[in-house]
């Protein structure tokens, strides 16, 4: 038997997103119904590229009405309902195979991934009812967060495939939408004050707008009044309620709620993850450990529980590591951070504490070797991150190695070129740095940064005429006048020149942040092995010139004082770690 699938969508001003949505789904359905509720952009035109069945529907402030209108236009046996900001993902034909194997099921909940950050693969999973038999029994109700009414829960099944991927809107638009939603919801709430779903939605909207105190009563009501039959809503309501209590500073209440709920839902991963976070914040690290471990044990929870990806793996491991460190259990912390990185290499944050542990325990050379052997440096993101960490920890030699030994990972990557260039120069490899600068094209956004590095390299090499002429070129781009100004002044200071080309005035104040950056980079160079071993009189002059320039402003002087205080304190700390307290340097 060949069932036909109708895609039913309602849209308004979705030109930006619609094509992506339709492109992904067009081969999965038999017909596409698009109900336009009054777009003023290209939406309808785009829609017509995919289907002839584009209807316009006069907006009456009621989503359900519009959706039900779309259902009326459909001719298929099954309805797939999508929003324009969703993209369907999965094996081709996965929709159809769901239907073919539906048995007596009449509706499916599909997983919806709601991303928190795309780059690190953190997302929340919700299940939404989007695929159902096209019969009169399945109709939309509710004005805003319209729901398909479910006549018989026994006939609803959960699907793991395909996935609906939600595309986050720009924050401004999200807020606009939320405000609009909120108005309609409040209106609906006046008419129907006991509807737990409305409580839920109102709570979520207020929470997302950062008004925890408004959100709290609604979420509390929703959690209380929704039963386990509506776990699809009750589970996220519980999560949001915990989050809301936590952000309103009521962590003890949040924790009691976690403890209480954990008895009812012993496999609800996210609950244990949130509980772990709460214990962690209370500095009850042993308890936190227990809860995070339990979250990991739970794994991905059964589908009805709303789930944040990673709360059973990389996020939990990351927090485990933090707690272990706080408890002084370094080796276990190390293992936990490693597990976090291994389970999601696109989530780079565990690399930071892991790096610090390795550096402390093994020293820079072995730290590098470890990261390399474990394969982290074969991952471009982790490799760049590790290089930057080495650089910031004053081990520019290892920073250089990270990038130079893994150049195959970064074909034609300008960010890579620029970073490597910087590490070259501040490890004393001036010529190689200059070469790398040349690989960055004049049209690139990174061109001026590369030029700046080249000029510094030339100064450190003592090639002042060339440095000066490059700096003058840099001056010609208005955006890089600050850099040019500092560099030209520094060159004059180093050469003891007094008159020759005086750069036109620019706001001194604007150059201070740049000066600080230059000086910080200089400090990294000062700690590099290359400089320590062979020294460089020009580098000394460069450092002195930067100090002179910094000293000419109050902010700069202050910055220098802070820098020297920091240097002194770092040294004092090392000193007392090695020689114990009570000797001259720390007899206060």
């Amino acid at each position: 038997m060949n069932s036909r699938i109708s895609l039913a969508m309602i849209v308004k001003d979705e030109a930006r997103l619609l094509a992506d949505c339709l492109e992904a789904v067009k081969d999965e359905v038999d017909e596409i119904i698009i109900v336009d509720t009054g777009s003023t952009d290209q939406t309808a035109t785009i829609a017509r590229d995919y289907t002839d069945l584009v209807y316009s529907f006069t907006w009456k402030g009621n989503f359900s009405a519009a959706r039900n209108f779309a259902l009326q236009q459909a001719t298929g046996d099954w309805i797939l309902a999508l929003d324009a900001d969703e993209v369907i993902q999965g094996e081709p034909g996965s929709l159809r195979s769901l239907i073919n194997n539906a048995g007596d099921k009449e509706a499916f909940l599909l997983p919806l991934h709601n991303p928190i950050a795309n780059s690190t693969e953190e997302f929340n999973t919700f299940f939404v009812l989007r695929l159902f038999k096209h019969t009169d029994r399945y109709q939309y109700t509710g004005k805003i967060h319209e729901q398909v009414s479910i006549p018989d829960p026994e006939k609803v099944a959960l699907a793991q495939n395909p996935i609906l991927k939600h595309k986050p809107l720009p924050l401004r638009i999200q807020h606009q939408k939320r405000n609009r939603n909120l108005r309609s919801l409040l209106q609906a709430f006046q008419n129907d004050p006991y509807n737990p779903f409305l409580h839920y939605y109102l709570g979520v909207e207020w929470l997302m707008l950062g008004k925890e105190s408004y959100a709290l009563p609604f979420l509390q009501e929703a959690y209380l009044r929704l039963s386990d039959e509506n776990l699809l809503f009750r589970a996220p309501a519980l999560k949001y309620l915990i989050v809301c209590l936590r952000t309103s500073g009521k962590s003890d209440e949040a924790l009691s709620l976690c403890l209480e709920a954990s008895l009812n839902y012993p496999t609800f991963t996210d609950l244990f993850y949130l509980g772990g976070l709460l214990f962690e914040e209370k500095e009850e690290y042993l308890m936190a450990l227990k809860w995070f471990k339990h979250a990991i044990q739970c794994g991905t929870p059964q589908a009805l529980f709303s789930h944040l990806a990673g709360s059973d793996s990389f996020l939990a491991h990351y927090h485990l590591g933090f707690c272990y460190e706080k408890l002084g259990r370094t080796i276990e912390a190390w293992q936990a951070y490693k597990a976090a990185l291994d389970s999601n290499p696109r989530y780079p944050y565990p690399l930071y504490p892991l790096f610090l542990i390795l550096l402390r325990e093994k020293g820079p050379a072995d730290c590098y070797q470890y990261l390399d052997i474990k394969g982290y440096l074969d991952n471009p993101l982790l490799c760049l991150t590790a290089a930057n960490l080495f650089y910031l920890a004053n081990h520019v030699e290892e920073a250089f190695r990270c990038l130079d030994d893994h150049k195959d990972l970064f074909p034609n990557d300008e960010r890579y070129c620029l970073n490597l260039n910087k590490y070259c120069i501040y490890s004393g490899r001036f010529d190689k740095g200059l070469e790398l600068s040349e690989q960055i094209s004049q049209n690139s956004a990174k061109f001026s940064s590369a030029q700046t590095l080249s000029i510094i390299a030339l100064i450190l090499l003592g090639d002042f005429p060339k440095a000066k002429s490059l700096a003058i070129t840099l001056w010609q781009t208005p955006l890089t006048r600050g850099e040019a100004h500092i560099l030209l002044k520094a060159i004059r200071l180093i050469n003891n020149e007094t008159i020759v080309p005086i750069p036109p005035k620019i706001h001194e104040q604007e150059t201070i942040p740049l000066l600080k950056e230059f000086y910080k980079d200089y400090l990294h160079y000062q700690e590099s092995q290359g400089y320590l071993k062979s020294g460089n009189p020009l580098a000394n002059s460069w450092g002195e010139a930067l100090e002179t320039l910094l000293k000419s402003s109050e902010e700069g002087s202050d910055f220098l004082l802070v820098t020297y205080t920091h240097k002194l304190e770092t040294l004092q700390q090392r000193f007392s770690e090695i020689f114990g307290m009570g000797w001259r340097a720390d007899e206060h």
């Binding site: 000062q526 700690e527 400089y531 320590l532 071993k533 020294g535 580098a539 000394n540 450092g543 002195e544 100090e547 000293k551 000419s552 109050e554 002087s557 202050d558 220098l560 004082l561 020297y564 205080t565 240097k567 002194l568 040294l571 004092q572 090392r574 000193f575 090695i578 020689f579 114990g580 307290m581 009570g582 000797w583 001259r584 340097a585 720390d586 007899e587 206060h588």
Partner: protein, 668 residues
């Protein structure tokens, strides 16, 4: 009624020592039993002269048999046992009869002071020995150890009571010889005790002595093992337990088990919390572990301990110069010269013969650079009234290259009996450009004198300084005629060259002797501020053989404040052989020259090469503090209205200012 006392001795070829021993005891004992085991010198005659009952005994490799043979012949109520190289102290004469009158005492542990030679000072090691006991048939020696008779007596008579006779003191002169002798026979002694241990494996006294023998044989790890066994299950009142524990600590330290030694010392201190020696060794151990502040605390503890009971056998100087000396060296390590000086002075006050302290004091005072200050400081604390003291201090100054100061003290000696002082005085005269007087002294040396060539050389040097080439070449010929070694000749030939820089004189390879002479000349020239002359000689040296002497050359320049001249040599050393110490030195030079970035770099590098030396840290802290203050002052000047900077001036680098204050307090 007076108890009769029998002195018992075992001797062999002790003619040199025996008189001293018998003289010290004469009139105190009722009979003297001397058992000779085969002397071939006048031992027996001397013994008879003092009225001894001399018996002969055929040595059978068993100390106990010989000793018991002497007891068999004794008729007194008490036995006093002495060795020929021992004597009793004069003050002991009065107490002996009181001791033997005590009715309820079976025997006494008496104090023995072992004399050790020292380098320039006398060291003594006190100890306790069991040498005075009642004469009874059943009290006989057993085994190899003197003290074993104490065990025997207790075995026979469990009610026996012993005491420590504090005022009765034996002086032992042949301690070092004994140690050497024991070393020669160490294997024999060890196997002797091993045999006895086989019979009584759990006897702690045997174990203790076995440990000591192993320790003397430098088998420290095994000794430590045995000491641990001996200390386990021992009665805490055992008289030698403190010594045993100290031995354990030292044995563990000597076998490199620093942490264990520290642990043992901590346990021992729980039993004997007033045992100064243990604190002292804790100090040494902490120092070896780079825990310097703990080390300092331990030495201070050792110094604060009360008079040590005799059974502690506390080493001389532990509560005095030894601990002061360690504290001074720690202070130097932490660049605190004021504190170091203080401790060196306390050290010297406790033991005026401990010249190492004086050396250090003079070194710290930098007499070559600041002669007046050095002189003033030293005269405040030391009294140079004897010619010997003047000579000593003069020589110390001479060794530090402070010629004018050395001369000052040499001139206070009326007669110069030793030609060596004469030569040194002459050199000092030349170095203060009193050529005429110097030459007169030098001309006193005749060809018979071993210092004649040096006198000639100095005359030549004097004329060279005055730019009198004829006299130089005359003296050169005279020196040449003495038939000098090839390298010396080469050095001398340099005096004949002209000091013209354009002169393409060939560079010469010198051997160690030649270089030594050259460095001497170099130092003399730099001391005279004749920098051009010094550089002239340096240019003559082939670069290859200059290499290993760069550090010495740099140091010569540094002693006389010629930092800029020292720089290239020090740099070369750092490049060729990077070491923490030399980088630190280079940092010091740059710091003095106010080249802060270079100084910082070399201190940082020194720190990286040896993170366990505190000095680079301290200097860097000083450097950062100085930089901070410079920036702050400039900011205050430029931006007088800025409240942040004014605020900082009050609080500032609070730690730094307090730190200075506290070190000033200490100086007061």
């Amino acid at each position: 009624m007076a108890n009769k006392i029998s002195l018992c001795m075992i001797v062999k070829n002790e003619a040199d020592n025996l008189s001293r021993c018998l003289r010290s005891i004469s009139g105190l004992v009722d009979e003297i039993i001397v058992v000779d085991t085969g002397s071939t010198d006048l031992t027996c005659d001397i013994a008879q002269k003092y009225g001894a009952n001399v018996q002969h005994f055929l040595w059978n490799d068993n100390f106990s048999d010989a000793r018991n043979f002497s007891l068999d012949n004794a008729r007194g109520d008490w036995i006093l046992f002495l060795d020929a190289d021992e004597e009793i102290s004069p003050s002991s004469r009065d107490v002996l009869s009181q001791l033997t009158e005590q009715e309820d005492i079976e025997g006494y542990f008496v104090k023995i002071i072992n004399y050790l030679g020292g380098q320039g000072w006398t060291e003594t090691v006190p100890d306790l020995v069991f040498r005075l006991f009642r004469n009874k048939q059943e009290y006989r020696f057993r085994g190899a150890i003197h003290e074993q008779i104490a065990d025997v007596i207790l075995g026979r008579n469990p009610q026996a009571r012993y005491q420590i006779a504090e005022k009765f003191t034996i002086l032992h002169h042949g301690y070092l010889d004994d140690i050497i002798r024991v070393k020669d026979k160490k294997q024999r002694n060890i196997s002797l005790i091993e045999k006895e241990l086989a019979k009584e494996p759990a006897n702690p006294l045997l174990q203790f002595h076995y440990g000591v023998e192993l320790f003397r044989a430098e088998r420290y790890a095994e000794a430590a093992q045995i000491f641990i066994q001996a200390a386990t299950n021992i009665d805490p009142n055992t008289i030698y337990l403190p010594k045993l524990l100290r031995y354990l600590v030292i044995a563990q330290q000597s076998s490199g088990q620093l942490k264990r030694a520290l642990h043992s010392a901590e346990i021992a201190l729980k039993l004997f919390p007033n045992y100064a020696d243990l604190y002292y060794y804790v100090g040494l151990l902490q120092q070896d572990l780079n825990h310097y502040s703990q080390a300092r605390d331990a030495f201070l503890q050792a110094l604060s301990m009360p008079e040590q009971p005799p059974q502690y056998a506390s080493f001389g100087g532990i509560r005095g110069f030894r601990s002061y000396y360690c504290l001074a060296q720690l202070a130097e390590l932490f660049l605190d010269e004021e504190e170091a000086l203080n401790y060196y002075l306390l050290c010297l006050r406790d033991n005026p013969n401990f010249t190492k302290a004086l050396d250090s004091i003079i070194r710290i005072l930098k007499p070559a650079q600041e002669p007046d200050y050095a002189k003033e400081c030293l005269e405040k604390v030391c009294d140079f009234c004897t010619p010997e003291a003047n000579r000593l201090i003069g020589e110390l100054y001479y060794e530090q290259g402070a010629y004018s100061l050395a001369l000052h003290y040499f001139e206070r000696i009326d007669s110069l009996p030793l030609s060596q002082i004469k030569l040194k005085k002459a050199i000092c005269l030349l170095q203060t450009r009193r050529y005429f007087e110097g030459l007169r002294l030098l001309e006193d040396f005749t060809p018979e004198s071993p210092d004649y060539p040096l006198a000639l050389l100095n005359r030549l040097f004097c004329f060279w300084l005055q730019d009198k080439p004829h006299k130089v070449s005359f003296l050169w010929k005279e020196l040449h005629a003495l038939g000098l070694e090839h390298n010396t000749e080469n050095v001398l030939a340099l005096f004949l060259r002209t000091q013209d820089e354009s002169d393409p004189s060939p560079q010469i390879d010198f051997n160690a002797d030649g270089m030594l002479l050259l460095l001497d000349i170099l130092q003399r020239l730099v001391a005279l501020q004749e920098i051009e002359g010094a550089l002239f000689f340096l240019r003559a040296i082939a670069p290859d053989c200059l290499g290993e002497y760069s550090l010495q050359i740099a140091q010569i320049f540094i002693i006389y404040g010629q930092d800029i001249q020292a720089l290239p040599f020090l740099k070369k050393v750092c490049e060729e052989k990077p070491a923490s110490e030399t980088h630190f030195q280079l940092g010091e030079v740059y710091f003095r020259l106010n080249k802060l970035k270079d100084a910082e770099r070399h201190y940082q590098f020194a720190l990286q090469l040896d993170p366990n030396s505190p000095r680079p840290y301290l200097r860097l802290m000083e450097l950062y503090t100085a930089s901070w203050q410079n920036i702050h002052q400039e900011a205050m000047r430029k931006f007088p209205g800025n409240s942040v900077f004014t605020q900082l001036a009050k609080g500032g680098l609070a730690s730094y200012e307090l730190k200075n204050k506290s070190s000033n307090d200490r100086e007061r």
